[in-house]
Symmetry: C2
Subunit: 463 residues, 2 copies
């Protein structure tokens, strides 16, 4: 990377700086401007990836072990084989096979009120209620501290964590990570004190009554109890009933169960590098989704963007210097087994990933990239900004990479595509995550951003 | 404004700069951080403005002269009177009263094909077809150059401008301003050469078949002819038919008409400044909308954000140093008469607007503010960025202000709120502009951005 010294004016503003930055940016980057423009124009004129996403989600949601997922895997393999990439292959992966079943009921037994039924969805990987119902009084907590204070009162009860999503955080992923601990760890923490089941308020920015699922975690030494998420409106209703009525008795019936293991696939395609083929630039998302909605944003869209990156290289006849590899990971949602296996295999084969880019935050309008890397590599990535800005990307910041790519050892830069995040948790893991929530231009701009970044890393490396 | 000198590192990146900027930002700005956080938290925790928008749009679309608009004006006046602002008043404005009528038909007469009917909407302010039909061959042009070249062939025909929206432009407003000239000036340019009517391809980023309306302009010395917009899919269909079938004869029937003038209202509320009451910081949008959809994004949302800015001052008991004035303009869509009258009155009264902020680009996720002002004032506005960033605002750039506020003479800074623009022209001026397309968090973050900017200008001025 080249560095530049700027003349500073006394009246120096961010706006001026941005201008200067663009005007004086790295010639090693600027020489790729025409290619970057071609990539952006192709993405915006060609709704290819968007229409393929529509086809993918027509199979329905794609939880590990489902017939839908097998259909989707076959569709993706055939699709990739038809593009004429250098290699297309898959890796079989053993993953948890959890099924929701047909029964998900939460009823108010007492006090006697007109509204009896509350909207719930079982949490992923939860056990069921063993063919019957769990009838028990409910005890409500806002957080784990309250649980600890009242631990003597929990035995034999249904514990309800009514933790509210912090709407004041600009970054909705921060709000999510604060609230999601009740979904992940609520069951074993309540079971430790003898609870019979756990309920949570759905982890969502939305105010509707659509429950949001997601995994819970069990701990080996503590009995497993069933867990379910309430829609936000019914969580508020239940909270108000508990506050006003004293004892509330609920009846929970869940037919979900863990069926053991199933075989799923990581699907991989690549364009071999012409100069340094041993250096891999990975771009990917995950094929599986929760069994609600159709998984358009989480993460069918990320898969289609990743495929489209390689397709754009083919259409524009770009011969990358380094190997460009699209990886569609298996089983991100309830096991991460696809990414773990991919990382293990890759290490055994001595593969060298210089960068891994993941799109798994929805396919909304581009804002930036978040990179987990060293500061020099971050600077190098930031030197690409003048071309990434063609697609609406405003920044490259330090950040978290992605759930799948973070399982691969020794990648120089783990890079998360970071679209606008305000709508994501309205949809995430729920019936609301459907294709009609995807905007063509927003999705294609993200594809263009990923393709330009992939191209620049391929040509310029990260040194 | 205070200026700062930064120590520059050789490895100096935009990211580092942003950090430095935040760390060393102006103490005159930083002292307001707690207030800015309170504003943001209130906006994000309180869906007040969003729910009022829902109520507003229940009256239906609000074109000048419509009963819906009168109901909306009454609702807004009563609403504002109940907040306890220092002043609430309105200005009567004479505005064009155009009505669409019940008939909007475009049929294919020849060649004989199964699909007869094409989706159209009359363009705003268009004359109708005089109670009957215009039956004529159609002639198609991509642009005005082609019209000029073939001007001898236009007489007696229906001219169809099939100008395609340039999807490759990141800034959708640029694409709009390139394509919209065929809607605005197509009729008189075609009429100059004897055309009987004009059709345009809808000016939209969308690929559906929903026609998008908007004004056309007549020129006094050239006969008026009717104009209508085709849905994009039917525009493509017609174009293909013309290319493949030789002569295509169409029948156009429009019952729209200009009924003369109607009285509409600018609605105004203010909180009087405690230190410099004569200096006004205006925040506003326009009440009227096209008669399709419900005008949620254009511009019911902008009105509700502007009202909410004043409400937030009341709820947080902020006593602004300068006068904060909310102006809900009349008749932006087909005359701009509200803004023109407001500007004229304001000048006659010798009022001093130091800034005018308009939200009229949809209520999507915040990106920035675009200011029409001198470079020193721009720098001052940019010094507010560290607090505006609390709401997702990334920049303050030179730009266009807003259609309404730009009619006010001698404002120090004309400032347009600039949300993400990728989805706006999917909806704009069509049946698609409805409340379900508004996202609560996106709207409220915009309100917060406007309120923080209003507060900072009020307290710090623009000198």
């Amino acid at each position: 990377m080249k560095f530049f010294i700027f003349t500073l004016f006394l009246n120096f503003t961010l706006f001026n700086f941005t201008n200067l930055y663009s005007q004086h940016s790295n010639p090693d980057v600027e020489k790729h401007r025409e290619t970057a423009i071609s990539i952006k124009n192709l993405a915006l004129n060609d709704p290819h990836g968007y229409h393929l996403l529509e086809k993918l989600v027509e199979f329905g949601p794609r939880l590990s072990g489902s017939e839908n997922l097998i259909n989707a895997e076959n569709f993706l393999l055939e699709l990739l084989q038809n593009y004429g990439f250098d290699t297309v292959y898959y890796q079989n992966v053993e993953a948890p096979h959890w099924v929701r079943g047909n029964t998900e009921k939460l009823n108010i037994i007492s006090p006697y009120i007109e509204k009896k039924h509350l909207a719930i969805r079982a949490l992923g990987n939860s056990i069921g209620t063993n063919g019957g119902e769990i009838n028990a009084p409910v005890i409500m907590f806002d957080n784990f501290d309250q649980l600890e204070e009242a631990k003597e009162s929990v035995k034999g009860k249904i514990v309800f964590f009514n933790n509210k999503y912090d709407q004041t955080l600009l970054n909705t992923f921060e709000g999510y990570s604060k609230a999601v601990r009740y979904r992940v760890d609520g069951a074993w923490r309540a079971a430790k004190y003898g609870a019979k089941a756990v309920l949570i308020r759905s982890v969502t920015t939305s105010f509707d009554n659509v429950p949001h699922t997601g995994t819970l975690r069990y701990v080996d030494t503590i009995p497993k109890i069933p867990g379910a998420a309430l829609g936000v409106q019914d969580a508020e209703f239940l909270a108000s009933l508990i506050q006003n009525s004293g004892e509330v008795v609920l009846s929970l019936n869940l037919s979900c169960e863990m069926k053991g293991l199933t075989t799923v696939k990581n699907i991989i395609a690549e364009i071999r590098g012409s100069v340094k083929p041993e250096e891999i630039v990975l771009v990917g998302g995950h094929i599986d989704s929760w069994d609600l909605g159709d998984g358009s944003h989480d993460d069918g869209g990320g898969c289609m963007q990743s495929i489209d990156v390689l397709r754009i290289f083919k259409v524009l006849d770009l011969k990358p210097s380094r190997t460009i590899r699209c990886v569609l990971f298996a089983n991100e949602e309830n096991g991460l087994r696809g990414a773990l296996d991919y990382g293990k295999n890759s290490k055994e084969m001595g593969e060298k990933h210089i960068a891994a880019i993941e799109s798994d935050a929805g396919v909304f309008t581009p804002r930036g990239f978040k990179a987990k890397t060293d500061s020099l590599t971050l600077s190098k990535l930031q030197s690409f900004l003048p071309l990434l800005q063609l697609t609406g990307i405003e920044w490259v910041k330090p950040g978290g990479g992605g759930a799948d790519i973070n399982q691969i050892p020794d990648v120089r830069a783990y890079i998360g595509y970071s679209p606008d995040e305000q709508r994501y948790f309205d949809l995430h893991h729920s019936d609301n995550d459907t294709f009609d929530k995807v905007n063509l231009r927003e999705m294609q701009l993200g594809t263009a951003a990923m393709a330009i970044l992939t191209f620049l890393i391929s040509e310029e490396g990260l040194d």
